[in-house]
């Protein structure tokens, strides 16, 4: 498939957008956006809406400080305005870390945001600049730039290493719309193994989770495609090894996750946790069998997600629910090597993902060779079909008469609050959402 040099309805934003979404989920971290007045508002609105109505937090959304540069700064330079804004932000806003994040226009004119931030840092203020111009990459790139800034540049190793402490990275706030629920399930599972888990971006976390990160025994990267370079640099600086795996969704994947995690850390108790969690899971799940099996609720599946969710979701549909994957679309732009990493994970699945982002092109790919049933007697249509994607797939699903659920960004036809699909609890939640989406038609 040829890639167009432009994007049809991008399912991402820019580096600044990814960084701002992530900062909004970090406790006591305050952004200072060095850009035009609208960048912060536009970018944060997009996640506030498109991530299941994520909304704004402590000092994000319309509260986020910005240099709000205008033509004057574009012509004469914006460093002075930035200095004034950093100073006024320090004076007015309570925070433990202030992150200057740059937009494209201030980078293009060559403003030295790093220099301005350093002046304050040298005076003892917790100010750091990260370079997040839109043209450097998408929201995922922005998330990694942010991590690099905080963990690999700003943090210093504090106490001694803690063998029972792990850090979790790779789940991208906002653009993985279930990031909070997913991270909390990982925290819960870790706790059952006797671990302390830094996930940084869930509401259970405090600023101390950030400062404790260098003391961890392991960095768990819940992504086959993200944070590779970040994890390597983290290891170089703080000596923490890393393990890249998938977000575990459903019991089988989570069993494997627990066993492997325990092995990496050299701790006991994995089998005890696996047994107890499965007992819990199946006492719920067994009762769904009557409606599920009796209703013959098996589907062909088409998934449209980012690379983080593609494999966990398809494994769940294929292995836990017994569905038949028809198409798997991965919508984020990846380097060739990262695509290979992702493809390796699909070895045990009957269908390989295709890397397409445009909803127009995705609809066309699904239709190709699979005409819609129009009353023919002997017709092997792609039915019953379930499209698990983003809200951008909704019209196509309606057109094809397919069942449909939005799980990936942008998801704006549902509200996402504490829910997540990771782990055992998430597995049941995903079942509820998949089946519940069309149960609502009854009555």
């Amino acid at each position: 498939m040829t890639e167009t040099p432009f994007h049809d309805k991008p399912r991402t934003s820019c580096a600044l957008g990814g960084a701002l979404a992530a900062i909004s989920a970090l406790p006591d971290v305050v952004p200072i956006i060095h850009a035009a007045t609208g960048c912060g508002g536009n970018l944060m609105n997009s996640v506030a809406f498109g991530a299941g109505y994520l909304g704004s937090s402590y000092c994000s959304g319309a509260s986020a400080p910005t240099s709000a540069v205008t033509e004057t700064e574009i012509v004469f330079g914006g460093a002075e305005r930035l200095r004034e804004q950093i100073a006024s932000t320090l004076k007015l806003i309570e925070g433990k870390l202030y992150l200057v994040a740059t937009g494209c226009m201030t980078e293009m004119i060559g403003d030295d945001a790093g220099g301005a931030a350093s002046e304050f840092a040298e005076a003892g203020e917790p100010v750091l600049a990260i370079s997040t111009p839109s043209f450097k990459g998408d929201c995922y790139t922005g998330y990694e730039i942010l991590l690099d800034g905080i963990f690999n540049r700003w943090l210093r190793k504090a106490g001694a290493a803690d063998p029972r402490l792990i850090n979790v990275f790779g789940v991208v706030p906002g653009y993985d719309p279930f990031f909070r629920g997913d991270l909390e399930e990982i925290e819960r599972i870790g706790a059952r193994l006797g671990l302390k888990v830094n996930t940084f971006f869930s509401p259970t976390q405090t600023f101390e989770n950030i400062t404790a990160a260098p003391e961890a025994a392991l960095n768990v990267i819940l992504s086959r495609t993200r944070c590779r370079g970040f994890a390597e640099r983290f290891e170089e600086k703080h000596g923490v090894p890393w393990w890249a795996t998938d977000l575990p969704v459903g019991p089988e994947a989570t069993d494997a996750f627990i066993r492997e995690l325990a092995a990496k850390l050299g701790i006991d108790g994995a089998e005890r946790v696996v047994a107890a969690e499965n007992e819990w899971y199946y006492r719920y799940f067994e009762r769904t069998a009557d409606s599920y099996a009796d209703g013959e609720l098996r589907f062909y599946s088409v998934t449209v997600t980012n690379s983080n969710y593609a494999l966990p979701l398809n494994k769940y549909l294929y292995r836990e629910l017994g569905w038949t994957p028809a198409e798997i679309f991965v919508t984020d732009r990846l380097e060739e090597a990262r695509r290979e990493d992702l493809l390796a994970g699909f070895a045990e699945l009957p269908v390989k993902p295709r890397f397409v982002s445009g909803s127009q092109e995705i609809a066309r790919s699904i239709d190709q060779g699979r005409p819609v049933y129009r009353g023919q007697r002997y017709f092997d249509a792609l039915t019953p079909l379930y499209i698990v994607g983003s809200t951008l797939e909704k019209q196509m699903a309606l057109r094809r008469g397919a069942k449909y659920l939005a799980v990936s960004f942008p998801a704006y036809d549902r509200a996402i609050v504490a829910g997540g699909y990771a782990g055992y609890r998430g597995g049941l939640r995903l079942y509820e959402d998949l089946i519940g989406s069309f149960m609502s038609a009854k009555g």
């Binding site: 991008p10 809406f49 402590y58 509260s63 986020a64 700064e73 007015l92 806003i93």
Partner: protein, 507 residues
């Protein structure tokens, strides 16, 4: 050269006296404008808001049969996902089928920023034309191409000869102005340069035949129709119910009303020049377009505030009627309507008496709603205008006369709104969409200052507004519960300082 002849529109900072930072009362604001200090005011601390691009997109997304090509890095346009939901609602309200908003982004990369993005834009326009077969392609020029020097206007010109669709350039880089209202001009500039406003023979009408014995009669009929047809200009904040209310009132006066430019199509745009009067419903929306139509077609225009509240609606309607010699009819219509509406809102009034209201949002709305609510016995404790420009001067003259002691500010800043709510403790906040979460977290009940889904204008709209306020004040448990558990990001010193202590005057 007039602005209209230039490929790139001016921003309001260039064509009007304009401000985004002020604190005082209405009289002081007008004084400060006269002296020039108003334009020199700024802040030492800013919070993020919107830009002219985001508002331009909101308007463009409503135009039927259009596709948007963002010439931008990947993040600009991220809001179009949300905008599409609103524009689909707007379509449904007007009986049009929902349509996915098609838009593509040139997704400018580091290499494009160095090497230029014009070729990519050309390819994107060609792709949009081929793939979606639109009637109109809006090419949106953002910050990045304007800094690297892409000649977007030239690419648009060239595309006109190759694309099947009309290609319209919307030049709205965010850094050009902190004032979002420049978007109206940017959007209209694109339309007026690249979209035909004149009916086409054989497509829109069959030309009259001078040898036909009915020729003179038909000609008179046509002239009569034109002389009783008005164009009503909506934009973003004015929803279907408001259009409908105004149409109802104008129709009662015997005027045929057509609505532009949102939700109109290429075919409808060609009717623009066939009307006796262009009517704006907001002083800061449409002057750029309506002055153009006057210049080009000799069409008179009417810009005289916003028909919210009894006295403003009466005055506004009367002004239009005067253009058609219908003053008496308009006055009688207002008498009749006021009587009905006054009866309808009566049950709500006792609960609203003396309630202390803070109003924040668009300059004309905020000022007009403040006066209307004061008229009914609510106490206005502050008016916050998102921006000020000289087109809004009549609103503030009115405020200076009617509510001379009330504090007014020019501010779209969350911290200043937060401070005022914390320190003034209003009973109700009437505020711009997008800020109600912030207000709720402070424990205050609020209603929308405007909503494209709601009704505000004329008599039916004012009744709905009263009903909504009454409803909102009925149960404030949600806000009170929420506020008890939310931490504000501001340091303690600020609560005892002046709300507007970050405003400064530049030399």
């Amino acid at each position: 050269m007039s602005y209209y002849e230039q490929r790139i529109p001016p921003v309001r900072d260039q064509r009007l006296q304009l401000a985004d930072s002020f604190s005082g009362c209405a009289g002081e604001l007008l004084e400060c404008q006269k002296e020039g200090c108003l334009m020199r005011k700024s802040r030492s601390f800013w919070q993020t808001n919107a830009c002219q691009m985001s508002l331009t997109l909101m308007m463009a997304a409503t135009v039927a049969g259009s596709v948007i090509v963002m010439h931008a890095p990947g993040g600009c346009g991220a809001q179009l996902l949300a905008i599409n939901v609103q524009s689909n609602k707007g379509r449904a309200q007007r009986g049009q089928p929902p349509a996915p908003l098609n838009w593509i982004s040139t997704d400018l990369s580091e290499a494009d920023v160095i090497g230029g993005g014009e070729r990519k834009l050309e390819a994107a326009i060609a792709y949009a034309d081929r793939e979606f077969r639109p009637e109109i392609i809006f090419v949106v020029s953002t910050c990045a191409p304007n800094i690297i020097g892409d000649d977007v206007a030239e690419v648009v010109e060239r595309a006109k000869s190759t694309a099947a669709a009309k290609v319209v350039g919307l030049h709205c880089p965010g850094f050009k102005s902190r004032v979002v209202a420049s978007a109206y001009d940017a959007f209209y500039h694109g339309l007026l340069r690249d979209i035909p406003f004149e009916p086409e023979a054989w497509k829109d009408y069959v030309p009259l035949d001078p040898s036909d014995p009915r020729y003179e009669m038909e000609q008179a009929k046509e002239n009569y129709q034109k002389a009783h047809t008005v164009n009503l200009w909506n934009a973003t904040s004015i929803g279907y119910q408001d259009e409908d209310e105004i149409k109802r009132l104008l129709s009662a006066l015997g005027l045929n009303t057509r609505i532009f430019a949102e939700y109109a199509s290429l075919d409808e745009f060609r009717q623009i020049s066939r009307a006796a009067l262009n009517i704006s419903m907001c002083n800061v929306h449409d002057d750029y377009m309506l002055k153009f139509l006057e210049e080009k077609y000799g069409m008179p225009y009417y810009i005289a505030g916003m028909p919210i509240g009894f006295s403003e609606t009466r005055r506004w309607l009367g002004g239009i009627a005067a253009r058609f010699g219908l003053e008496k009819e308009a006055a009688r219509l207002a008498d009749h309507e006021e009587k009905l509406a006054a009866e309808a809102i009566k049950p709500y009034l006792p609960a609203l008496q003396g309630k202390r209201v803070l109003i924040s949002g668009g300059v004309v709305r905020a000022g007009t709603e403040a006066a209307a609510l004061a008229e009914l016995g609510m106490e206005i404790i502050g008016v916050k205008a998102y921006h000020y420009d000289e087109n809004a001067q009549p609103i503030f003259e009115e405020l200076a006369a009617k509510l001379p002691a009330v504090h007014v500010s020019v501010s779209n800043q969350a911290f200043e709104l937060t401070h005022q709510i914390r320190t003034l403790k209003p009973d109700l906040v009437v505020t711009h969409s997008g800020t109600h979460g912030l207000v709720a977290k402070l424990g205050a009940p609020s209603v929308q200052l405007f909503s494209a889904d709601g009704a505000f204008f004329g008599y039916g709209g004012f009744y709905q507004l009263m009903r909504k306020i009454h409803f909102a004040l009925g149960n404030v448990n949600y806000q009170e519960r929420l506020a008890g558990h939310v931490r504000q990001p501001y340091k303690d010193w600020y609560w005892s300082a002046d709300t507007y202590s970050c405003i400064k005057e530049e030399s």
